[in-house]
Symmetry: C2
Subunit: 670 residues, 2 copies
């Protein structure tokens, strides 16, 4: 049995990793050979000799939606749409947008971007400026002044944000930590040092050492198992989980089919995972019906709440500044995902354009959580008790993006009942600030966080993840419908009741009707297809079930909130527009809020019976607590979209309970 | 292997079902022999001859909290507190509260209750009035008039509520359904018939047949697997789940220990499952620390939104009127709970006082959902990448209560990280109203629901579950703390920031400070122990993470809302008071709102540094949709309590990943 499982895993690895060299689907991410082709094509024009062109972003230039849909509806029998790559590069201190036609191996167009904001920084340039710092004498002196051993100092970068500067330079700030005696460097900041590195000049342009705040001690910060001392615990019992006939899903390249779902799992080095063309099989209509054309996390806003010199700028746009996709990490096969998971690799381009592989970046598994799909016990019938129960199984697509200290677990969960659940798990290390305090009683000022240990403050912050959900509810032409629940006073004296609630439905005509702050009134929000109705006459739709929402607490005239204005509402709806992909703007680094979802939405375009996009922001205000230290137990949030009059009846009414699995006959005990 | 598993299951059944005859813990529910003893003791005084005393409720008369705690702290070496039962009986048209001392086999006290409201109705009297109806000529005529075969008519009862009547009689209304050709009787109401049965007179006292509305057809309503016709689907893959060394939890009577948790699982025939004395082991303090003294669902308010003659009264208090505990149903071993579940039986007393057994009423299982307990990938360290991941496991205690058409899945989930998640799953059959309509376009009036099929309306309604959580955060003396997140405008010109948010903590002094409508402001709510602080000086506490909340939409002067005023706030905090158990009042049937949580709270008692109870209401407004028909896919809700500065550090920092389980060596394939 063990051997069987092992062989099965090997098979998975073989079959799912060799697909890297060719694409099978127009929405497949660029393969390593395609990335190389993009590189050589661009370098033909922009010589490899100095000054060097740097690749800040290479990704699929998405084909026109109409072309993808017609390719799909022909069952891939027609020619795939032209395969193109979008390159964002820096060359001679300019930002270039270069479109490459892959089959023609040629540059289609080049545009110099002259607006505000800069492209994502690359890992290579981040590493470069960190190395600069270690050769920078004032820094070495700062380390010595603190009595630290420079060989244990580790530095990383921070974006600088925008605070009203008229002229922006492409810079990063650096922040350093101490790693002697503990792997948990983020728990041990070297507070008080300001370093600014210019990425175009490639040098340190600002340095200041403010204060000598103690570096938190190593003691109590370690999280690596092998370095822990007893007592250990709690003890958890292992279990073996076996699907002797393999998983219930099929993977063909990046296309997944499972139960009544089929969809495409791609990724982008900025967005991370992207789910496309998710369709569900309708047993009554005997066909797949599209729900989601494309869904991904568009931006990720993480402002910290410390306005002082060393911290004020920490107001990250994690996707646009650092790349939520290139921050995906390799998943641990038996811990990040259960034993029945299959894995896909991911590739991104380094600054030099060469592909970099992330092994096991995406896992796909069937989740057996012990949930009940539906049930009923009927005791009213004479002489018989009926008990019908269907256990639930779902399919999860998981990635983890580690952006510096934080680890974000991103789940897309598909349920046979038609729901898609978007799960967000926050774990990793808090953003920690050094302090001289060792007890709350000493503190007589606002320290902008929670004192967690000696010299250790977990700084207040928020997490806002804005999802782009291009829902296509059984076709592109959709509307956004609010079903408001309204109290009614009964005026009919025949009724003993004085009140009830009823529903008042309202279809949003323009974007302005669809900017929603949740929690203010009882309302169900749905994307419906106004052209398709159930037999009884209800509009077919999918409803948003918000989970974790938060409203901004930064003032609206504050710079980070101007850049992050796309979270001013929990829900936006916009007409589909290929260029409106990134809620915080295409050039998020040092952006000035001119190209955000909030700005687009002000055009107040018509959204009725149109191809529309639903934007929903998951928000969490985070007041750190002792339990988050030295490493955070996962804090989970998310939301769900759920069919609402999309089907005529419960789509899992006729699902059968899976047959009990027979394990092999065994002749000995473990 | 299969044999092994089977043997293991048999062992479970034996060991956990023989405990019924004796109690081991002062909070154990009454055993069958104790129920019999209560019966014989009461019947000694109230002769078995006519007029008969009926047992409306028999439950444990909870021992004083101080006695239970001292018994527990002595490790059960001191004598258990006196074992008493509370009987609520009807005798000569009066409600009696009888306390029985079990060891002395004597009645301790008897009180005649003369206030408003009545005790729970028994299944026996419900059955009795249904039988009456089938002998009632006008009803037989109504059935004939509809052209129906009376042998397929099924009737059930409904509580009548209170609508300002000055004098209340103990009555039930009856509602009938048609079962020919489908098991789904609740989808096929005989609309238009009003029947009132008097429970004391034991006769039909009111009958009216309003209209001949069509009975919905059988077609499309069936949910029983064996009666479905192809096509079937979706197809789900089975998996074998094996814990070769048995589960990680231990069950001793009703006491459970698992990982770092220990707690008691009891039940009450009114409340359903009750979790008591939940404590978590603190690795640093090397001791168990109490979190929850006693938690259960106190009341369950389900008002329907149809004010017309046949429906206005459907505003149920499911616990107080019908008994959420006696409505628990037997769980299906491989569908309601996974293969690794253990089961406990439950017993309640019938009207005659004799014990009735519910097999497998409670299941307990380890949930392996593929979640990540915590993780971090550290790439900043030179020459090594660190990846530490701990997979999560939790322990679930599950019951299902079926109250007529609805099935409520109630989960208590314990996580090693200290969280307790209260899960509520809604499934079963909608409350359906017959109508002459067959298409939405025909409807020009408010029909109070969604037209789902020909002649079939799913009526708008709400579900409010009010949890009683007697939290004891490391001791009884606790406070309720609001941590308000407040925007601050930066006035220091040295900071480029214009704003941030900070926390303002506020300890509730009285009950009035602790009535909370959630969603209005950013605030973290916690029960803290003001006398215990972490080393850094933070108050130890547990935080409420609300999940599914709803605000009432019925007007506050409407009778159902006067009775259901305990849901006017999402959170209440009261001082512990043994008599304040039932949020809707001890006598909920036809209650007048005089004995609700909302009324108790108006006394505005001090709740600072006292033994306090947190009440939290999970609320769902339900606009039915096509997918809910003919049987509802589970709609999940709930909330979580999570340690917040309760521990010094992450309590699962030193949890080890469970060892991979070795399956037996096998010599053949399945």
């Amino acid at each position: 049995m063990k051997l069987l499982v092992f062989l099965f895993l090997i098979t998975l690895f073989i079959s799912y990793t060799t697909s890297a060299s060719t694409f099978k689907h127009p929405l497949d991410p660029l393969t390593p050979s395609e990335l190389k082709l993009v590189r050589s094509t661009v370098q033909k024009t922009y010589k490899a000799s100095s000054p060097t062109l740097t690749f800040q972003y290479i990704g699929l230039d998405e084909p026109e939606k109409a072309l993808v849909l017609s390719w799909q509806s022909s069952n891939a029998k027609t020619k795939a749409p032209p395969r193109r790559a979008l390159v964002i590069a820096r060359f001679k201190n300019q930002t270039l947008e270069i479109t490459v036609n892959l089959s023609k191996r040629s540059i289609v167009s080049t545009k110099v971007y002259t607006g505000h904001g800069f492209p994502m920084t690359t890992f290579d340039e981040q590493d470069f400026v960190v190395e600069l710092l270690f050769k920078y004498t004032p820094f070495i002196e700062s380390v010595h002044k603190r009595g630290l051993n420079i060989s244990h100092v580790v530095c990383s970068v921070s974006s600088v944000g925008w605070y009203g500067e008229i002229k922006s330079k492409r810079t990063l700030k650096l922040q350093c930590f101490y790693s002697q005696g503990s792997s948990n460097l983020f728990a041990r900041p070297l507070e008080g040092i300001t370093v600014v590195a210019d990425l175009d000049q490639r040098k340190i342009v600002e340095y200041f050492d403010r204060a000598n705040i103690p570096v938190p001690k190593a003691e109590g910060t370690e999280f690596v198992a092998s370095k822990q001392k007893p007592p250990f615990g709690p003890t958890l019992t292992g279990a073996a989980f076996v699907q002797p006939n393999g998983p219930g899903f099929k993977i063909d390249g990046h296309s997944i089919s499972w139960a009544n779902w089929e969809f495409h799992v791609g990724y982008d080095i900025r967005a991370g995972p992207m789910i496309s063309l998710a369709s569900i099989y309708d047993l009554q209509q005997q066909r797949y019906r599209r729900v989601l054309y494309r869904g991904y996390i568009s931006e990720f806003f993480v402002p910290y709440m410390d306005p002082t010199a060393n911290w004020y700028f920490k107001t990250f746009l994690d996707s646009g500044e650092f790349g939520f996709g290139q921050s995906m990490v390799s998943l641990d096969p038996l811990a990040d995902c259960p034993a029945n998971a299959a894995f896909l690799d991911a590739y991104f381009a380094g600054e030099d354009g060469l592909p970099v592989k992330i092994d096991n970046a995406i896992c796909i598994f069937e989740k057996y959580a012990g949930d009940i799909m539906w049930r009923h016990t009927e005791t009213e019938l004479i002489d018989k008790e009926i008990r019908e129960v269907r256990p639930d199984v779902s399919l999860v697509v998981r990635t983890v993006s580690t952006v510096g200290n934080y680890d974000y677990i991103i789940d897309w969960e598909f349920k046979p009942s038609g729901s898609i659940k978007m799960g967000v798990g926050l774990t990793g290390i808090l953003g920690i600030k050094g302090t001289s305090y060792t007890h709350v009683d000493q503190i007589k000022e606002d320290v902008f966080g929670t004192l967690l240990a000696d010299n250790t403050i977990g700084v207040h912050h928020d997490h806002y993840l804005t999802y782009h959900l291009d829902l296509d509810i059984d076709g592109e032409a959709n509307s956004f419908m609010k079903t408001n629940l309204e109290s009614v006073r009964v005026t009919d004296d025949n009724s003993p009741r004085k009140s009830y609630w009823t529903v008042v439905r309202e279809t949003a005509k323009t974007e302005g009707d669809a900017r929603i702050k949740l929690g203010l009134k009882a309302s169900e929000l749905a994307i419906v297809n106004p052209n398709k109705k159930t037999k009884a006459g209800n509009k077919m739709g999918y409803r948003l079930f918000p989970g974790t929402v938060a409203h901004p607490l930064l003032l609206s005239d504050d710079y980070p909130q101007i850049r992050g204005a796309f979270i001013n509402y929990n829900v936006f709806v916009t007409p589909y527009n290929k260029s409106e992909k990134w809620a915080g703007g295409l050039y998020a680094d040092q952006s000035r809020g001119e190209d955000t979802l909030a700005v687009w939405s002000l055009r107040n375009r018509s959204i009725e019976n149109k191809d529309i996009v639903l934007w929903h922001t998951v928000g969490i205000h985070h007041v750190p607590c002792q339990e988050d230290y030295p490493i955070m137990p996962t804090l989970s949030g998310g939301f769900e979209i759920r069919p609402t009059n999309f089907f005529e009846i419960n789509p899992v009414l006729k699902a059968k309970t899976p047959k009990p699995v027979r394990l092999p006959k065994c002749n000995s005990q473990p």
